[in-house]
């Protein structure tokens, strides 16, 4: 079935939270309201871009995410996207992706470059 949302790129606020379950997984928690608007489901992969940085994270629909926003556990994936000015809360562009979720080793490889 064709999903219109597949072609939509949207901006959302991302909050970074500590001590969240699956802390080390490449996950993004999306609020059900936002998921409904963009047709997102559990297990989808979202491409998250901020400036020139892009990563893919698996979607988990959760009310723990801020309303109309997303939450990333405090891990290397969150740190990859953030900067010193927007350390634990920032805006990013999100888009459905057919690719796999980014792996930890990939971030370490980019760090070593």
């Amino acid at each position: 079935m064709l999903r219109i949302s597949k072609f939509m790129k949207f901006e959302a606020e991302v909050v970074v939270a500590r001590d969240v379950i699956f802390e080390n997984d490449s996950l993004i928690l999306v609020h059900p309201n936002l998921a409904k608007i963009y047709g997102l489901r559990d297990g989808n992969v979202l491409e998250i871009s901020r400036g020139d940085k892009i990563i893919n994270l698996r979607v988990k629909i959760s009310e723990k995410a801020p309303e109309n926003g997303c939450l990333i556990p405090n891990n290397i994936f969150a740190s990859y996207l953030c900067d010193t000015q927007n350390f634990k809360r920032f805006k990013a562009f999100l888009e459905l992706s057919d690719s796999k979720a980014t792996e930890l080793e990939e971030i370490i490889r980019r760090l070593r470059e």
Partner: protein, 398 residues
């Protein structure tokens, strides 16, 4: 035993063989998982003896022009004192996670700029309990049941049912916010500054953005001579002016009712590091022994950003997990020595790894709870190699 899984330092945890009682999920994982994911002595990813790793660490520190010692929040007061002595000997920088965590709040409390209290007094006396930018349900799982909201205290015999008023302030409906039902209020904020302004205006009888909610909270505070505010990382990163927040606390105390400030928690002995460095230097973190002062520019992150350090001795923490990418890239370029009982992202990329013991589980010593109360640890065993021994050897070597 005293659980060192977080800064609550719960002193009623019982370990009987393989049974661990009274611990929260975090504490259980900390104690039961002590043997998992252990680090090994390594030099450039090659397995070596601990003595060889320590020798290499000494060599790096001796050859470094501008080293920094960073971390130390999960180790004991004794190891922290030795680390400070090492920093003094090397005339180098020393900093811990508090410089990008709740250090400003701890500093204000230690300097008595704002009124603070102990968790035991909170259990016995507190009526209004505010969690601002904190989610203790996951970060400090026993905080609410052991100290703040649920327990029955001397002056609060009916506990949360009638004798407490819970306020949760957050940008999202966290698990803690979901508990704010009876005798409680959840305030969803976009900008924390707006809520600070609303409190400041309400104290002067004016209405701000959150006028009605703030009015209700202040009215509840007036019912008691003991209210408490727990500040979390969400507050630290949500607020643009911490002085204005401290002014709010002072004004509420002057004009409304007693309100005490406590940090909502952090690594097990972060407050211990802040107090130990404060006793030695008069500052709680980001200190340069060469310049004999503490400055924003001496923060671990700032030093990396400006490429002011060429080697880092990282103790019991995992900065690579939390550093923004641009800073992490700079961190990758310097020499890295890691002292940690566990494997971490940082230890995976370190030049030298020195395995140690888990404080409170495998070695004794003292730690300071988030409210400043000191505890003597009761470890399950005493490992020969621990942070104190490692620091003693490094001190001798340099």
């Amino acid at each position: 035993m005293i659980c060192t899984g977080c800064s609550c330092l719960c002193n009623d945890v019982v370990v009987n063989g393989t049974r661990i009682m009274n611990a929260c999920i975090k504490g259980y994982r900390h104690i039961a998982g002590a043997k998992e994911n252990r680090s090994e002595a390594k030099i450039e990813n090659r397995t070596v003896s601990i003595d060889e790793a320590i020798e290499k660490a000494i060599e790096i520190l001796k050859n470094s022009r501008n080293p920094i010692i960073f971390g130390l929040d999960t180790t004991t007061l004794e190891a922290q004192s030795l680390a400070i002595r090492l920093a003094e000997k090397l005339e180098c920088y020393i900093d811990d996670n508090s410089s990008f965590c709740l250090g400003e709040i701890v500093e204000a409390i230690i300097k008595k700029d704002v009124p603070s209290t102990t968790l035991d007094d909170v259990r016995n006396k507190a009526y209004v309990v505010i969690y601002w930018g904190a989610n203790p349900y996951t970060s400090l799982p026993r905080h609410m049941s052991k100290f703040t909201y649920y327990p029955r205290g001397e002056k609060r015999p009916r506990g949360y049912e009638e004798d407490r008023y819970l306020v949760v302030v957050d940008v999202r409906k966290s698990e803690t916010a979901m508990l704010a039902k009876k005798n409680a209020k959840f305030l969803k904020v976009e900008k924390d500054d707006e809520l600070v302004d609303s409190f400041l205006l309400a104290v002067d009888g004016k209405a701000g953005k959150f006028g009605s909610e703030v009015g209700v909270i202040l009215k509840e505070m007036k019912k008691s001579d003991f209210n408490v505010l727990f500040a979390g990382l969400g507050l630290k990163y949500g607020i643009s002016n911490m002085d204005r927040f401290f002014e709010m606390i002072k004004k509420i105390n002057e004009k409304v009712a007693p309100l005490y400030l406590l940090p909502a928690g952090f690594h097990a002995n972060m407050r211990g590091f802040n107090e130990t460095l404060f006793e030695k230097t008069g500052f709680v973190n980001k200190y340069s022994f060469r310049e004999k002062r503490s400055e924003k520019e001496f923060e671990f992150m700032e030093l990396l950003k400006k490429e002011c350090v060429d080697a880092a001795l990282i103790v019991g923490t995992d900065p690579l997990k939390s550093l923004p990418f641009e800073i992490a890239k700079k961190f990758m370029k310097i020499k890295k020595i890691v002292i940690d009982p566990k494997t971490s992202l940082t230890s995976k990329v370190a030049d030298v790894v020195i395995p140690s013991a888990i404080s409170g589980v495998e070695c004794g010593g003292k730690m300071v709870r988030s409210d400043g109360v000191r505890f003597k640890l009761e470890p399950l065993e005493e490992k020969e190699i621990n942070d104190v021994l490692i620091f003693k050897k490094i001190l001798e070597g340099v």
